[in-house]
Symmetry: C2
Subunit: 316 residues, 2 copies
DNA sequence: GCCGCTTACGTCAGCCGTAACGATG
DNA sequence: CATCGTTACGGCTGACGTAAGCGGC
């Protein structure tokens, strides 16, 4: 059994059982993949894939178990490689994180600048992604960790550690009627205007949908939804509706022509959190980044959380 | 990186950093091992072993992490191979268990005969071992599981599932004074005679030493200690002392010339238990064997225990 | 001087890529 | 007929074993 055989089999599985695509993805020839998979099946004595004619159309029962185990093995191999470079040059390497636009634009800049000053040899990558795919990117190893804002479903291989609470604000153009209210803002006030907010805020069971449901107010018409706070602000400025977004994304100086009304009392706070794979090996500078981002995320704290069972909830 | 390189490195580590011994153990040449380890170190960019002159004298910090990960990988590879044969011929293969002499001789025979009748294609191996090394044999993969009688220290990679409670009896030759007592046996009565019992019973903090300590009675002189119940009975018959052993190991018919006095009231019961690695893949017939041995050890029960965290105590 | 690791070298298995073939829908 | 996987074959890398060299204890 060779590691490449496992790699080939797993890649074929990931490419929806298309051997040619797997060959492309691994920059090798298609017959090589076919052959190695056959050899592996021969060595194990069981077929891993179900073939109809010449095509693979499904994974066999043993194949499922083997592929899962192979994925674990390949992940550990990745870890070994990281360990090597970690000790060889502990302040050089890459750090890839997935996060939402708002985090990348408003929460991360000062953290990133402090980090690059301290670790100039580290190639930092920030992959913007919608909250829904953050978990997936960490699961599949596309990112070392993710910084999320809405908690998705929990997963046995992931740990989510809360960092800080954040609140929402309503943003309107100068002179908007909502600015002339002589009382605190209510949800019903919002219902009179089209809403411009995050795409992900409109999914089931978010802080926003829960608040409207509990107040018995219909969710206002949504004029525009975007993952990008700057886009939201742009269209609010154009008068398309009122914006509802993270308070930290409003900057009185930069956002001339807009006014911000706190909506902290209308929606429960959400928690920004980091998402990690339990079995990933983090480089030393990755821990340094996390500590810069949220002081409570010391190496010790993170490692404890990683090795703890899932039900010990570190999320909040 | 090749799997063999990992195998080589791990084996050198296991052979106390002796490359030649590792080569012998793996049935290959010594230069091959040296070379592959060098290549691995080169690829990772860090030395795994500390060399004084030409000899390896220690493991480096990265080496330690790499070796631990490599051991995990190799275990998973073993699991994949087992999965293959499991599905290919699910009633053929080998099953290796480590257990104490008493279990093998008195508790297992009926289980084993039922098992071999049901799975004639399975090569069953029973490795007798002292209670202390049972855990180690499971840890190192020499046995698929162990059946133990005295609980050793717990280990993060092991799970111990209790099977049944067992009690001790005092065994004496016909006509022995202890048979003429007109009251129930006390610990002090035993103190008058040399004791013949299990080696492992004399370690610290066993049911036997705890009982004597709590009663304030000195442990009697030990004439002979053996892991083997038949040896104990033989020497009791010769009059060297009184035997103290598992009640189940006394058979009134076979053991002519010996008498058995229950000591159930003198010592707390002990629990027979099985020991499993959390990350080992058990063949289907292994679960069948466990179910025959202790009905409560269904596949579902065992798997639940394996995946549960350590602190959920299944041991008792 | 012996043990143990390294270097050097010849051999051969086996992986990979190209090209031609065949099956499926 | 187009797509996709298999078979066939040649080249070449690289793993292994033997034999010789050399540093430590």
């Amino acid at each position: 059994m060779k590691l490449q055989q496992l790699r080939y089999a797993v890649e074929v599985y990931r490419q929806n059982l298309n051997v040619s695509d797997a060959a492309d993805a691994l920059f090798t020839s298609q017959p090589g993949i076919s052959k190695q998979i056959r050899l592996l099946e021969e060595e194990l004595g069981v077929p891993l894939f179900v073939r109809h004619g010449k095509r693979m159309v499904a994974v066999t029962a043993p194949g499922k178990v083997v592929l899962e185990t192979a994925e674990r093995i390949l992940r550990e191999v990745q870890n070994i490689k990281k360990i090597g470079t970690e000790f060889a040059e502990h302040d050089r390497g890459t750090l890839t994180m997935a996060t939402t636009h708002t985090q990348a634009r408003y929460a991360l800049p000062q953290v990133v600048s402090a980090f690059v000053a301290q670790y100039p040899g580290v190639q930092l990558s920030i992959l913007p992604a919608s909250p829904l795919v953050l978990d997936k990117m960490v699961l599949e190893g596309e990112a070392d960790f993710a910084i999320g804002t809405e908690l998705g479903p929990s997963h046995a291989d992931l740990r989510k550690l809360s960092c800080y609470a954040w609140n929402r604000s309503v943003v309107v153009p100068d002179g908007h009627p909502l600015l002339s209210l002589n009382r605190t803002l209510q949800l019903a006030d919002l219902a009179a205007y089209p809403l411009i907010t995050y795409e992900s805020a409109l999914l089931d069971n978010t802080a926003i949908t829960r608040a409207f449901a509990q107040a018995g107010v219909d969710i206002p018409q949504v004029a525009l939804a975007s993952a990008d706070t700057d886009i939201i602000k742009t269209y609010v400025k154009l008068g398309l509706g009122v914006g509802l977004m993270a308070s930290m994304a409003f900057d009185a100086e930069a956002d001339k022509g807009l006014q911000c009304i706190s909506a902290e009392h209308l929606f429960e706070p959400s928690f920004a959190h980091i998402v990690l794979r339990t079995d990933s090996y983090l480089r030393g500078y990755a821990y340094a980044f996390l500590a810069l981002f949220a002081p409570k995320l010391t190496r010790e704290y993170v490692e404890t959380a990683l090795y703890a069972p899932l039900d010990e909830d570190f999320s909040i």
